[in-house]
């Protein structure tokens, strides 16, 4: 009846921005980023990647309301780089890791196809076992 449309969980509304930054007024090098139409998939991923940087002092995310598809990511850095720069760096690192993963998966899959081709066709329902390592 008054249920929101399902696509409201992933499509930005008119004029809505993907990310907005609000700098903390009391703590230097600290910002809260609000991500619209995103969920744990991106929130936790960024949180975790940011924590790997030696310049990031704090990184945490929360979903303020379960029915509103947005999350807040709070970042505090040492003064060597801004929270925004840290976030950009984290994103780039993840994009790069994902590219590596894509290449690795393609390589391994092709290899697997060459080695275990016999097993591929025989087993229609995919339940058969192929010896592992």
């Amino acid at each position: 009846m008054n249920a929101p449309d399902r696509f409201d969980t992933f499509l930005l509304g008119d004029g809505e921005k993907k990310v907005t930054e609000v700098a903390d007024t009391r703590i230097p090098s600290a910002s809260t980023f609000t991500f619209n139409k995103e969920d744990h998939t991106l929130g936790n991923l960024l949180r975790s990647q940011l924590l790997k940087s030696p310049h990031v002092k704090y990184s945490g995310y929360r979903i303020p309301h379960p029915l509103v598809s947005s999350f807040e990511l709070r970042i505090q850095t040492d003064s060597t780089l801004t929270p925004r720069a840290a976030l950009q760096q984290a994103c780039r690192e993840l994009v790069s890791d994902l590219s590596t993963l894509s290449r690795e998966f393609t390589k391994e899959w092709e290899l697997r196809k060459m080695v275990g081709d016999g097993a591929k066709g025989d087993d229609k329902d995919g339940k058969g076992k192929v010896p592992g390592r």
Binding site: T41, N44, P54, Q88, L94, D97, L98, S102
Partner: protein, 339 residues
């Protein structure tokens, strides 16, 4: 920037494929953290685009099933979604309602004339041409008889005539767009990290059987010994995936598409952050903020082997390829990325 501390991560993600079948991929993902592995799992489950019937125009239905009952069944029929990049989302298309760039029309026309009960199968759906590529929209048929799932049954004199419009979508909107029926996901089968606190009657070891196949992959060996000290700094780094495809995409394509969707998400964030800078600062007006992630797919980038990563420059097949520095020259925020 200082990447010195990243030395450990230089290896990047690693994959070992344990089993591969036409509809299943069983693989181990290593050298990534839990958040990364879980995001990949979540993306593959809910955000990989596929085709599914979304609109049904009923011309005739004298079967015993209600129109919406059949429409629902039609929606759940897996349709081939190979190279779905060729298909536009209807919302991004220029057309009024739907067209051959953003939809595929399948017609079902069946009438029972004999005395026997007649079954209408997915193979009876007729796919209209032209369509974005030669595969998309074909009902997925895997049974030996080549029939596909049953849609409805007809008695003598009964008939169905329906026009079905298949559209591109994701499972976050409706489960009919899901590319997988399930993704098995496990880490730390021996529970050495103690992320689990097992409930038990008498003996948790007996009552919670360990997945031997996964457990045997752990180099650290068997279950926690009593004299073993607990490493409270340990984090999971090996993840066991068992992905079962519905048939609309091959299992490896689901993984690759999942990766791509994640990259598109991150690219959208980077664009927004870079776009802000342009507005505030040097006002480059290089169209950074204007581009939408969806606009990045499609023919502009040429078709490289299988999957084109969504953000690369035209012509440059792999920005990240080879090289000792995986974090090296990225196309973001550099003047070279204006196209």
């Amino acid at each position: 920037m200082d990447y010195g501390a990243m030395d450990i991560d230089q290896v990047g993600p690693r994959v070992i494929i344990r089993e591969s079948f036409p509809n299943r991929a069983d693989f181990v993902l290593e050298h990534v953290d839990l958040a990364f592995a879980n995001s990949l799992r979540r993306t593959m489950l809910a955000e990989v685009p596929t085709m599914a019937i979304d609109l049904v125009e009923v011309d005739e239905n004298t079967s015993v099933l209600a129109d919406e009952f059949i429409a629902h069944r039609l929606g759940l029929i897996p349709l081939n979604s190979k190279q779905i990049e060729d298909v536009l989302y209807t919302r991004d298309c220029d057309c009024d309602q739907y067209c051959e760039n953003c939809s595929i029309t399948l017609t079902m026309h069946a009438k029972c004339t004999g005395d026997e009960i007649m079954k209408v199968y997915a193979r009876d759906l007729v796919v209209a041409e032209p369509r974005p590529n030669e595969w998309v929209g074909n009902p997925v048929i895997t049974d030996e008889a080549g029939l596909g799932p049953v849609i409805c049954k007809l008695r003598k004199g009964q008939a169905v005539r329906m026009k079905c419009i298949a559209k591109k979508g994701i499972a976050k909107e409706h489960a009919k767009w899901a590319p997988t029926s399930a993704i098995g996901f496990e880490y730390d089968p021996n529970n050495k990290l103690r992320h689990l606190d097992y409930w038990y009657e008498v003996d948790p070891i007996k009552e919670w059987p360990v997945d031997d196949r996964n457990a045997s992959w752990e180099s650290e060996g068997g279950p926690q010994q009593d004299d073993e000290t607990f490493d409270y700094n340990a984090v999971p780094s090996r993840f066991f995936f068992d992905l079962e495809s519905i048939g609309n995409l091959e299992p490896d394509a689901v993984v690759q598409q999942g990766i791509k969707v994640m990259q598109q998400k991150l690219a959208a964030v980077l664009q927004e952050l870079a776009g802000d800078e342009n507005r505030n600062g040097n006002a480059g007006g290089d169209g950074f903020g204007v581009q939408e992630p969806d606009g990045m797919q499609g023919g502009d980038y040429g078709v490289d082997q299988g999957y084109t990563t969504p953000y690369v420059n035209p012509g440059a097949t792999s920005q990240w390829g080879g090289g000792a520095t995986p974090y090296g020259a990225t196309p973001y925020g550099q003047s070279g990325w204006n196209q």
